[in-house]
């Protein structure tokens, strides 16, 4: 009884985050509705209702996870990691292909992307490692945790899902960077990555390489790999200060913008709602991350602290990279905009993380 009371009180304390997320749901639904138009015709009723179902389901999952004692994860960190690996393995065996990539597994009619689950399990595993007292040993402090990361990254890159692989590496990297581990290890690792990156270039698929070259100069192939960047910038820029109006963005409505209801949802919002609308969205995103990080003040448990930091990093990186690519300042990699883009897996993943966060904060009020 006491526990439940505690959690409910905690909800009240985090109402800014809760209201913000509700607002995200609303923005998501409205923008999805707009992006599913073509020349004034709405054609995506099915997609929209599916997304609304995902949103409802996510809230339920959030509730469940907010009641699960987070300490469980520390004990099960390796098990969960293994579970993540298992899901990736299942994708290899049974997963179906979409757009040239094997990313999804189907459970009861819902398609799930295991790489999203891996993002959660890597946060937990990294929190486990980085909350230990440092041994001041490169192998134990750095190499060991990052070999687990490496295994994930390697398997996911081969799906191929470059976006998720990069994201997992970055989450782990940032979690380590903002922990007690010696910074010189990272410097070493960075040099290693730089040395190895020419090699990894050869491991990339053609289209992944094309996207990277297109990022450096979209005009090399304006109708091919550079197309999305160019059209996204045109859409965002044409929104100007006040936007072109709801359902009136021509880049969106006349179908010039590919993948607009998934990875390029921000572009749709920026085109229709302009600089002011984008500014509001950016502000709320920043507010949510700030509120999450604010809560670390009271956390006494180093593991919990690292998990919350990881959750903050997770949201921050997704938002920064996704919007950065819509604005043409980062290369195009397949990443959703958290809470906004169409898709169930990332939504559930975000809500699970939110649930874990709520459970942790209810312990440290």
């Amino acid at each position: 009884m006491n526990l439940i009371k505690k959690i409910i009180n905690n909800y009240a304390g985090l109402k800014t985050i809760l209201l913000s997320v509700l607002l995200f749901n609303l923005i998501s639904a409205v923008s999805l509705y707009s992006s599913l138009h073509r020349q004034g015709q709405f054609f995506g009723g099915e997609i929209l209702s599916r997304q609304l179902t995902w949103i409802a389901l996510s809230w339920a999952i959030f509730l469940i996870f907010s009641f699960i004692n987070y300490r469980l994860y520390r004990n099960l960190a390796f098990v969960l990691y293994g579970f993540g690996l298992l899901l990736i393995g299942i994708v290899y065996l049974t997963g179906y292909e979409a757009m040239g990539a094997q990313r999804w597994i189907s459970i009861g009619g819902l398609n799930l992307q295991p790489s999203e689950v891996s993002k959660i399990t890597i946060i937990i595993l990294m929190a486990y490692f980085f909350s230990q007292s440092p041994k001041n040993n490169f192998f134990l402090d750095f190499f060991l945790p990052f070999s687990f990361v490496g295994l994930y990254v390697f398997t996911i890159v081969n799906q191929p899902d470059l976006g998720s692989a990069i994201m997992i590496a970055l989450i782990a990297f940032f979690m380590g960077l903002f922990s007690k581990i010696k910074k010189k290890y990272f410097l070493g690792a960075l040099i290693l990555v730089l040395v190895l990156s020419p090699l990894s270039w050869n491991l990339l698929k053609d289209y992944q390489r094309a996207r990277l070259t297109a990022f450096v100069n979209p005009n090399v192939d304006p109708l091919g790999s550079g197309y999305t960047i160019i059209q996204s910038k045109i859409a965002v820029g044409s929104g100007q200060i006040f936007g072109r109006g709801f359902l009136s963005g021509t880049q969106n409505q006349f179908n010039f913008l590919p993948e607009r209801h998934t990875d390029f949802m921000f572009t749709v919002i920026a085109e229709e709602w302009g600089f002011l609308g984008s500014l509001v969205l950016l502000f709320i995103f920043w507010l949510v991350i700030k509120k999450i990080l604010d809560k670390t003040k009271k956390i006494r448990d180093p593991f919990a602290y690292q998990v919350v930091l990881g959750i903050g990093i997770y949201f921050f990186l997704h938002i920064f990279i996704n919007i950065g690519m819509a604005l043409g300042i980062l290369p195009v990699v397949g990443l959703p905009l958290v809470f906004i883009s169409y898709g169930g897996s990332h939504l559930i993943c975000s809500f699970i993380l939110l649930g874990i966060f709520f459970n942790i904060t209810s312990n440290y009020r």
């Binding site: 109708l223 045109i234 820029g237 044409s238 929104g239 006349f254 930091l309």
Partner: protein, 578 residues
């Protein structure tokens, strides 16, 4: 617990760092967003509009050009071009171009080159092959209905190219002439007349392009119609030229370099004006063989009637004679003795033979140089040059053609400016038989002689009969006030040249046209130029003819050409003699 507190304080440092990092990153996004939407917003809005709004050009047709009988000389025909929508073919472009190139038996690089050159927007038709056979175009559309478009555009065609090249000129796309598009607001796709009548009457001939403004989606499908501006056709113009006479002029000159000008003595309406060698203006439209035209050492692009000046030789003599009479240095009875040579100081000036005593009629008829040497000296250079100018020999004519050249009638001032030398009596002697520094266009001397024919009027020559239904302009002529009796005396001399003179024009006497005229053989550093200028019927002239042969040997050669020309048009009944 103490230890734990310490640890947490240290950990909070990480939170703070992370927050700073997040804040900074969001600031970067803000800057990028500001840059795209506020700083460069106008630019991107324009690009967005270019994406979804497509202006489809509805090209206007250029007015046709007809001869006086309605024979088409220049008209627009449809050219069939093959175009693609770049966005639609972005994936299989190579393959598609290769197939099309194979079908057309072209190098596929040509297609790629055209594509790159014409590419403006991802979503608007881009020509890859231009001006192909209609059936071939239809077949390509049948083979690749999804990928290619037939994009017809008007194309200028000159059915009688060679005969009318110098008169009609040709058109070019404004994009080739950057000055024009900037100065006069032509669009790059519009065609501009760049030579001949196409240039002179461009503002009438050119229509107004129209267009459709469409909304298109990314596949290039039109999904909305925003508006249309109808194209307006240019005006048709009718020339004074008679296509058949022009044809005879061409045949008469055959392979000789030179020009034939044939016009209505009283109205100045030009019935034929042909300059040889000629060129095919269609070459400039098709872009084929242009290099050869430019490289030709006989300069086929020059209209020898108006764009080049030559020494006149004896065809200037009627003007000198009239000047002598008007200035009362002589009368028609005055005689000079010709001993075959005229000595001035240490120089000897020759005549074609020993003519003996010559009066005006005889001197003109026999083309006696010695007579004119002495008359020239009596008149003096100032009077000669004043009369030559009065007859317009050193001015541009009023003909409706661009790029006319101006003649030169020398005088002491001119010589000092040009060569920094003084004027000698020998120069006057040379001037009085049209040699030395004298340089005149064939059209200008033809009009001057015609002024004698029609008793003192310089007519303004014209090639334009009417624009659509509007008559071109009233006949316009300038009165050079001269004594009718003096004119009659000179005309008599010119008639004598054709009927009895020892000059070369006598061959024309048998045509039955009551011709009067004057021949000329102008010395040059190469072969002499041949001249003949005449009019008929000499009592009341209706037609004037000028034949000029560049390095063509002599006046008698010009007379032969004139004979061929005149006998042909007479035979074909193309004259309307009253």
């Amino acid at each position: 617990m103490n230890l734990g507190d310490k640890k947490i304080k240290k950990e909070n440092k990480y939170t703070l760092n992370l927050k700073r990092f997040v804040g900074l990153s969001f600031f970067v996004l803000l800057i990028a967003l500001f840059n795209l939407q506020v700083v460069r917003g106008d630019y991107f809005l324009r690009r967005a509009r270019n994406n979804y709004m497509r202006a489809v050009l509805l090209p206007s047709l250029r007015g046709s050009i007809y001869d006086r009988n309605g024979t088409p000389l220049a008209e627009d025909k449809a050219a069939f071009n093959i175009a693609v929508i770049p966005y639609q073919v972005s994936k299989d472009r190579d393959f598609l171009f290769e197939e099309i190139a194979q079908y057309l038996e072209l190098d596929k690089r040509v297609l790629h080159l055209n594509y790159r050159r014409n590419l403006k927007f991802f979503f608007s038709p881009t020509n890859i092959v231009t001006d192909i056979d209609k059936q071939v175009a239809l077949e390509l559309k049948r083979r690749y209905p999804e990928s290619v478009l037939i994009n017809p555009t008007p194309k200028r065609n000159y059915p009688l190219g060679l005969e009318f090249a110098h008169l009609l000129g040709y058109v070019k796309k404004a994009s080739f002439l950057q000055d024009y598009s900037k100065k006069y607001g032509y669009t790059p796709r519009e065609r501009i007349g760049v030579y001949g009548l196409e240039q002179y009457y461009d503002s009438y001939l050119k229509g107004q392009d129209g267009g459709d403004l469409l909304e298109v989606d990314a596949r290039g499908n039109a999904v909305g119609f925003l508006g249309r501006k109808k194209p307006t056709r240019g005006k048709d113009i009718y020339l004074t030229i008679d296509n058949q006479i022009q044809k005879i002029a061409r045949e008469s000159l055959a392979r000789k370099k030179g020009t034939i000008i044939f016009f209505d003595s009283n109205s100045g309406e030009v019935l034929a004006m042909y300059s040889s060698p000629s060129f095919d203006p269609n070459s400039f439209i098709e872009g084929r063989g242009v290099g050869k035209i430019y490289a030709d050492r006989d300069s086929p692009l020059i209209n020898r009637a108006t764009q080049s000046t030559y020494p006149l030789g004896s065809v200037i003599k009627p003007i000198i004679a009239l000047a002598g009479l008007e200035e009362e240095e002589i009368d028609s009875k005055t005689t000079f003795d010709c001993k075959g040579v005229f000595s001035l100081g240490r120089s000897d000036f020759r005549c074609s033979r020993i003519h003996g005593l010559q009066d005006l009629t005889a001197a003109l008829g026999n083309s006696c140089n010695v007579y004119f040497y002495q008359l020239g000296l009596r008149l003096g250079v100032e009077k000669i040059s004043r009369w030559a100018k009065k007859f317009g020999l050193d001015s541009k004519t009023k003909i409706d053609l661009p790029y006319q050249r101006q003649g030169v009638i020398p005088n002491p001032e001119w010589k000092r400016e040009r060569f920094n030398q003084s004027w000698y009596a020998g120069d006057t002697v040379n001037l009085s038989i049209g040699q030395g520094y004298t340089q005149v266009t064939p059209l200008a001397i033809a009009l001057a002689i015609n002024a004698i024919a029609i008793e003192g009027y310089l007519v303004e020559p014209t090639l334009l009969k009417r624009i659509e239904d509007r008559q071109a302009r009233p006949i316009s002529k300038k009165n050079i006030k001269v004594d009718k009796a003096n004119i009659a005396a000179v005309k008599e001399g010119m008639r004598y040249a054709v009927t009895q003179g020892t000059g070369t024009a006598r061959a024309l006497g048998n045509l039955g046209l009551d011709l009067a005229g004057k021949t000329g053989t102008a010395q040059t550093s190469k072969d002499p130029h041949g001249w003949f200028i005449g009019f008929f019927p000499y009592q009341k002239p209706q037609y004037t003819i000028a034949v000029f042969l560049e390095n063509g040997g002599s006046g008698s050669e010009a007379v032969r050409t004139a004979h061929h020309f005149l006998s042909e048009i007479k035979k074909q009944n193309l004259l309307q003699l009253k």
